[in-house]
Symmetry: C2
Subunit: 152 residues, 2 copies
DNA sequence: ATAATATATGTTATGTTATAACATTGCAAT
DNA sequence: ATTGCAATGTTATAACATAACATATATTAT
């Protein structure tokens, strides 16, 4: 899997700023810091690792609620997703394009990739309908090895 | 969603006993107790709820590792699955029939249902192949409302 | 039968992940 | 200026999970 370039990262941050501006969402300093930490990491990141980084950036200890509240804001607005299988967070590279997001997560290099193709979405939707089930949210996390890592 | 009948529960427990016998897996007293607690609950159950029940059954306090080790054994052998999105455990009603297991989880009544149809499995597999990705394990948890609960 | 080995469990402590509850701040609207 | 509200700070603790080492129980080889 390819990691993101600096320009992609910048674009991603800029996009979030624009979306917040046009939707009147309060992208405060902390929320912006947390988002930047997450997208710059470019791999799934844990809440307490974000906490450490935030504390360093601001030269004063932050506390868990600060980080979790920022994460909540970012998730609510589709800028970040949580990977339940590894209790970690990742940036979303096409926020607002979808509500659900499916992931491939490489166990070796830890890089993740979104894989939200429509045929998969359709299939999940059909499965739900077939079971008379109304979906509110879906967790699909595929763990394994990416091409690079399975060749090594 | 329908909940399981007593006979289905008994059959499930018996099946696990048989599988363990024929595969020489040590289904110890505690492992059996934990499995029974999980299947009898018939809804996703938390580790510390199992811990309480185990302590009651045996009239002495048990400790987290005891429960988590039993759960590990049951998961390894496909008798139980973990729902990562809600940190809970559920019994598997057709162990050994599949490695991966997909779930529908009703947020209201909390009943869950396996939904491991082949077309879904195929679709996930194709998505992985398309991304040159080798799957080791998949988490698919669909949360929402079952028929009964969405009609209320 | 007995010692050696492996498997499982008990026990204590602690690590990791997440939230409750309430105080404080900063800013906007009246 | 005061009220209201959204965001943050702060303290404490809840909820989830494992490390490490001791003890017991079962299995096997002698």
């Amino acid at each position: 899997m390819k990691s993101k370039s600096t320009s992609e990262l910048k674009a991603s941050i800029h996009r979030v700023e624009e979306i917040c501006k046009s939707n009147k969402l309060g992208l405060t300093e902390i929320r912006k810091q947390v988002f930047e930490i997450i997208v710059k990491k470019n791999k799934p990141i844990k809440a307490y690792e974000i906490l450490d980084k935030i504390s360093n950036i601001n030269n004063k200890p932050s506390h868990p609620p600060t980080v979790y509240r920022a994460i909540d804001f970012l998730i609510e607005n589709g800028f970040v997703h949580k990977l339940n299988s590894i209790n970690s967070f990742v940036g979303c590279f096409h926020p607002k394009a979808h509500k659900e997001c499916y992931f491939l997560i490489c166990k070796k290099c830890n890089i993740y990739q979104e894989c939200c193709d429509d045929s998969l979405k359709d299939r999940i939707s059909k499965t739900a309908i077939h079971n008379n089930f109304v979906i509110s949210n879906t967790t699909l996390e595929i763990e394994g090895h990416c091409l690079d890592c399975s060749q090594k």
